[in-house]
């Protein structure tokens, strides 16, 4: 591949490290200014997680990863799918409803539920896609509206199908049969809990994302559209169709977001099913720079912070939402660091090009201006 450039690699590692440091300093300053116990907070946040918490981190990272990948698919072609949140809730509901019927035996039920969820998520996203392609409605608005609409619609349907357990105040779809529940892996020694089986799904999706976007014709077309819509059109990409496809793909992937939760933890869709994963996904996709590996690191970091923040109130007496400030600051710091490095890199590259050209053909008539 590209000639090995230690400086370049150093720079791209330096960026996130620098960003984390900056986030550390800024957060400390805020804590100090407000009068909260700085040391206590960092002891809680940076303390080594227990095995159980490691499992939690991995689990929640896998869910966040799916969400971020769903967002990233859109981002790679300049589509802003703010609607992952609604899409995964619609899909999780549909999936849970289907799985609860237990029409199929164990694992088959799981597999088909995944398909159902993807279809549901994709269909829901297709509304925004259609509105964009056929009616020119910005996907930013339509997906925001569709998130709210999903809330009402799912609740309405949920009330129609819900089974309320005796003595419970929660409602939910029918529990999925024991045979279809996924016990998870005892990956982390000494942990009382298990890593979701569907961590595998996240890995699979990550690999597929990397492969399809990086290695296939379709992926090339998608990225080309994101880089320059006009050039993509001229090269034969049908942008409206691409928008439909990418948006629906993004929605279908969003459909998978709830699946590890469904099969590994909740076993039904109900009032206490986790919400807001789509918005976290946006932050993580941006932090991971829409790159399969980058997003993996970003979601682990995000999940780590989320997990560690749980103890903030108990151990440091500080509101756990502090972690949102840290996450936001990291996001800022990382993008600014990358931006600065990108500029430096561009400069380096132009210098290099000019230098090498000068070396190549010292005698050709100047078409480049004077060489340095």
């Amino acid at each position: 591949m590209r000639t090995f450039q230690p400086r370049r690699i150093l720079l791209s590692v330096a960026a996130p490290v620098l960003a984390l440091l900056v986030a550390f300093v800024i957060t400390s300053l805020i804590l100090w200014a407000v009068g909260d116990p700085v040391a206590e907070v960092w002891k809680t946040l940076l303390g080594a997680p227990r095995p159980r918490q490691v499992v939690n981190i991995v689990n929640s990272a896998s869910v966040l990863y799916l969400s971020a990948i769903a967002v990233a698919v859109g981002f790679r072609m300049n589509l802003f799918n703010i609607g992952v949140d609604g899409q995964y809730r619609v899909a999780a509901f549909a999936g849970a409803l289907f799985a609860g019927q237990a029409w199929l035996p164990g694992p088959l039920n799981v597999l088909l539920t995944l398909v159902v969820a993807m279809v549901a998520g994709g269909l829901w996203a297709s509304i925004a896609a259609w509105l964009k392609v056929r009616r020119g409605v910005s996907e930013v608005i339509s997906t925001i509206m569709l998130n709210a609409i999903a809330t009402g619609l799912v609740q309405w349907l949920l009330l129609k199908v819900s089974s309320q357990e005796k003595g419970s105040n929660a409602i939910g779809t029918k529990l999925i049969p024991e045979s279809s529940r996924l016990d998870g892996f005892a990956l982390i020694p000494n942990a009382s809990n298990r890593v979701y089986t569907l961590v595998l799904l996240a890995i699979l999706v990550g690999v597929a994302y990397w492969f399809v976007l990086g290695k296939t014709r379709f992926g090339f077309d998608l990225r080309a559209t994101g880089r320059s819509e006009s050039a993509a059109v001229a090269s034969g990409v049908k942008v409206p169709r691409m928008v439909m496809t990418a948006m629906i793909a993004s929605g279908a992937l969003a459909g998978l977001v709830g699946m590890p939760l469904l099969f590994g933890q909740d076993y039904q869709y109900g009032t206490t099913f986790q919400a807001g994963l789509g918005f976290a996904g946006i932050g993580i996709a941006l932090l991971g720079r829409n790159n399969a590996i980058g997003i993996a690191f970003a979601s682990l970091l995000w999940a780590y912070l989320d997990q560690q923040s749980n103890g903030l109130q108990i151990r440091a007496g500080v509101a756990p939402e502090l972690v949102n400030i840290i996450q936001g600051v990291i996001l800022f710091a990382v993008v600014i660091a990358y931006e600065l490095i990108r500029r430096a890199d561009l400069r380096l590259e132009q210098n290099r090009v000019a230098r090498e050209l000068a070396a190549q053909s010292p005698s050709t008539p100047a078409t480049q201006g004077a060489s340095a």
Partner: protein
Amino acid sequence: MSAAGLEVGTQPVTTPRTGRQRFTPAQWAMVVAGAIAVVSLLRIVTGAEDIDSSGALSAAVGLAVPIALAGLGGLWSERAGVVNIGLEGMMILGTWFGAFFAIHAGAWMGIVGAIVGGVLGGLIHAVATVIFGVDHIVSGVALNIIGLGAAKYLAARFFSGLKGGGPTQSPPLPNLPTITIPGLSDALGTIEKKQWFFVSDVASVLRALCTDVSVLTILAVLLFIGTYWVLWRTAFGLRLRSCGESPVAAETLGVNVIRYKFLAVLISGGLAGLGGGYLSLVAANIYRDGQTGGRGFIGLAAMIFGNWRPGGLLAGSGLFGYTDALQLRGGGETVHAFLLLFAIILLAIGVWQIVKRHNPVQGGIAIVVGVLTGLWYALTETVPAELTGMTPYVTTLLVLAFASQRLRMPAADGQVYRKGEAS
């Protein structure tokens, strides 16, 4: 990735440039009168009295103002070429700072506080996007995360000890005055009660405008007028808009683009913060976590809906506030009445598509949906409670689906600008 987004090739190479003609005031009056007449008719046919009661309308105003202020914030920044998806975060900061200032310095200072809070958010966005050239969407998303976290964190830290306060809410805030024109308000109320066609409806509109109007609402109206005047009638506004249309051209004419963009984003933050302040100071009289409930995003949508112009934005937020008020107040019955209107509009559009536009597919779809909506109206008494909450969102989507192809954003909106790149 650039914040400008995909165009999907929907824009033809030749931009259709028909509608430069503006409505005259007389034409506007006709439109408004027509709308009132339609609603009046609908009220009489369906018996849904709340459809334009002065109460519903003033509730609509109350719900529209924070959205409109957030949208106005968006307008300022996007007119200067900076996409502002961080409005929600700025608004959240406004709610907290407004409350904090109001508690410690009184209601009027609460307004200042809300603006300060929003400006802080704007400052972060401005530094990131204008100075460091960060992608506008990334910065906005990060700002939303920070705004949410900061308000909750600060609330837990500063409101917990106070009487009536807690980690997630402030104590009750001092009131800002409201204004009612006493005699007029009552007189109009009497006419409104008569339920005459058109006359009562006009009365209720007027009554909503002169009864219990918060000073902050009046301030918001002034800000709209001021925004229009500043942006479209002054040199400052021209320069600011030129930064959103063609920053390089502005630069070559000696406009300090960075300064204007920076300032625009700060103002944007202040306005969004004020929108947040409206929620804590006026609408609720209390700060609560999660109080904005996504209104910043709705404001952004209203601004796009309004074609990046104050008038359109006002219409967008008004539509949203109105439908939200209807569903919150009347719920099922009023929304049910609107089904009839939807059905008729859809049928009309369908016929128009087929006859005038020779577009049988779209026309057919419109007619089928129209008939189905009509049936829904005829066969039911009310709309299920779970669904009425969707009314404002569905309405916005529908209106956009029919009208959004005419929208045009500032030409350089969302593009990262760096100095000295004129060629």
